[in-house]
């Protein structure tokens, strides 16, 4: 019933995170009926494919290699923030609270998924830290079991290099109500309390 090219487009769109078959169908029909958006999308996709690169230093995605963060002379060369995904890098950049360099691991250690240290960017991180002049490495990984296991391994490998290794604080998010907090978060919040 659906023409083959359109069916192909729906199948491809359905593979995008956040889109199921129904949503992909809606998106495909919308694009067909709004040709101006279809043309723009086509051009944007092509531009992204041709012009974006993965930074060979930090694994960020940018238009040039090394990326604008790695080449920015105004940024602090002595601090390195290790994140799991590029989206985490963007989130920290959005906060405006950090002005050092980044390193994107591209995943976390996970025994269940068979991901070991060599499958993620740990060897390149160690080489970068050994060759560089970093005074502090901030481990900004998720506060789950995989994140914490990866953080432990990183600190174990980085501390012998004589570098200060820190991790993000854990505790109450902004606007949180205490009675809705799980016991783990509350526990960490109490452990990490600060004096006024």
């Amino acid at each position: 019933m659906i023409p083959e090219p359109l069916e192909d487009l729906i199948r491809t769109l359905a593979k995008v995170p956040g889109l199921g078959r129904r949503s992909a169908q809606r998106a495909a029909l919308y694009l067909l009926t709004h040709q101006e958006h279809l043309g723009k999308l086509q051009a944007d996709l092509q531009t992204v494919q041709l012009k974006t690169k993965t930074c060979s230093v930090c694994s960020n995605i940018a238009m040039e290699d090394p990326c604008h963060i790695c080449t920015d002379p105004k940024r602090d060369d002595s601090t390195l923030c290790v994140v799991e995904e590029i989206a985490d890098l963007w989130a920290i950049e959005r906060s405006g609270a950090f002005s050092g360099r980044y390193h994107v691991l591209g995943g976390l250690l996970s025994a269940i998924d068979g991901i070991g240290p060599d499958d993620i960017g740990i060897p390149t991180l160690l080489k970068r830290v050994t060759d560089g002049n970093f005074a502090e490495v901030i481990i900004a990984l998720s506060a789950g079991v995989d994140g914490q296991t990866t953080a432990h391994l990183l600190s174990q490998k980085l501390q012998p290099l004589g570098i200060k290794v820190t991790a993000l604080a854990k505790g109450l998010p902004m606007g949180a109500e205490i009675d809705y907090m799980d016991e783990g978060t509350l526990n960490f919040a109490l452990q990490g309390r600060k004096s006024f």
């Binding site: 995170p17 956040g18 998720s142 789950g144 079991v145 914490q148 296991t149 432990h152 960490f188």
Partner: protein, 237 residues
């Protein structure tokens, strides 16, 4: 059909974009697996080692069914900053998810495991407890070892136990085992033998765990986790 029980969350696998399939070791029904709808959005609740109250619903026994989980306690909080203990907890969860049979209650082993997880944070002698726990899980899945004099291979001269048969898992005395010295496993002091440290303890249990996991291809990586744990032990002790 609806079942309710307390359990320990062992494994969380992503299923689609928002759901996950969880394995829970329950007090009343043994291992229970089910789909947790929207589970990937509840990452703080769905953490391996959490003690949870489950409601498992399914129409037929052959179906996977859906799971609803409510966290009762979170032992991981107390060990989050201790790499060795965190590795132990992960390893225990992985091993149980790999070896325990579904729908077969093991109340004693459940109580033992829950107690161990809940006291792991304050426990100093955790390597010893882990070694004993490995014997317990081997026993729970049908690979029980006979290391006490009552269960060991009888020895005419009553000499003390020294070896363990790699095939039967029964302890034997030095005189009985000496002709097979190259094939025999050492019975470590910790399990009632005459010599050997913790590495020998884990080498003994490792031999039988290897056998138990040999047929479970997707879970062979559990042995890699175990090796990582033993490497950590070597650096700490």
């Amino acid at each position: 059909m609806q079942r309710q029980s307390e359990g320990i969350l062992l494994e969380i696998r992503a299923h689609g974009e928002s759901s996950c399939i969880c394995k829970v070791f329950t007090a009343e029904y043994g291992l229970v697996a089910g789909l947790v709808k929207g589970g990937r959005r509840k990452k703080s609740e769905l953490t391996e080692g959490n003690v949870v109250q489950i409601t498992h619903s399914r129409r037929l026994e052959t179906q996977l069914g859906s799971l609803r989980l409510e966290v009762l306690s979170s032992p991981i909080i107390r060990i989050f900053d201790d790499m060795a203990k965190l590795q132990i907890l992960r390893y225990q969860c992985e091993l149980m998810a790999a070896l325990l049979p579904e729908d077969m209650p093991q109340p004693k082993f459940y109580d033992r495991t829950k107690f161990m997880l809940e006291t792991l944070g304050a426990e100093e002698n955790y390597w010893a407890h882990l070694a004993e726990w490995e014997l317990d899980i081997l026993s729970a899945v049908g690979f029980g070892l006979s290391l006490t004099p009552e269960n060991a291979v009888p020895c005419p001269d009553n000499s003390p136990l020294y070896y363990v048969s790699p095939r039967t898992g029964r302890a034997v005395s030095k005189t009985m085992g000496l002709p097979y010295h190259n094939k025999m496993l050492l019975l470590p002091k910790f399990f009632g033998g005459q010599e050997g440290g913790f590495l020998d303890v884990f080498s003994l249990t490792g031999h039988f765990l290897n056998h138990a996991l040999a047929e479970l291809a997707p879970y062979k990586k559990t042995l890699t986790t175990r090796q990582g744990l033993i490497d950590t032990m070597k650096t700490l002790t």
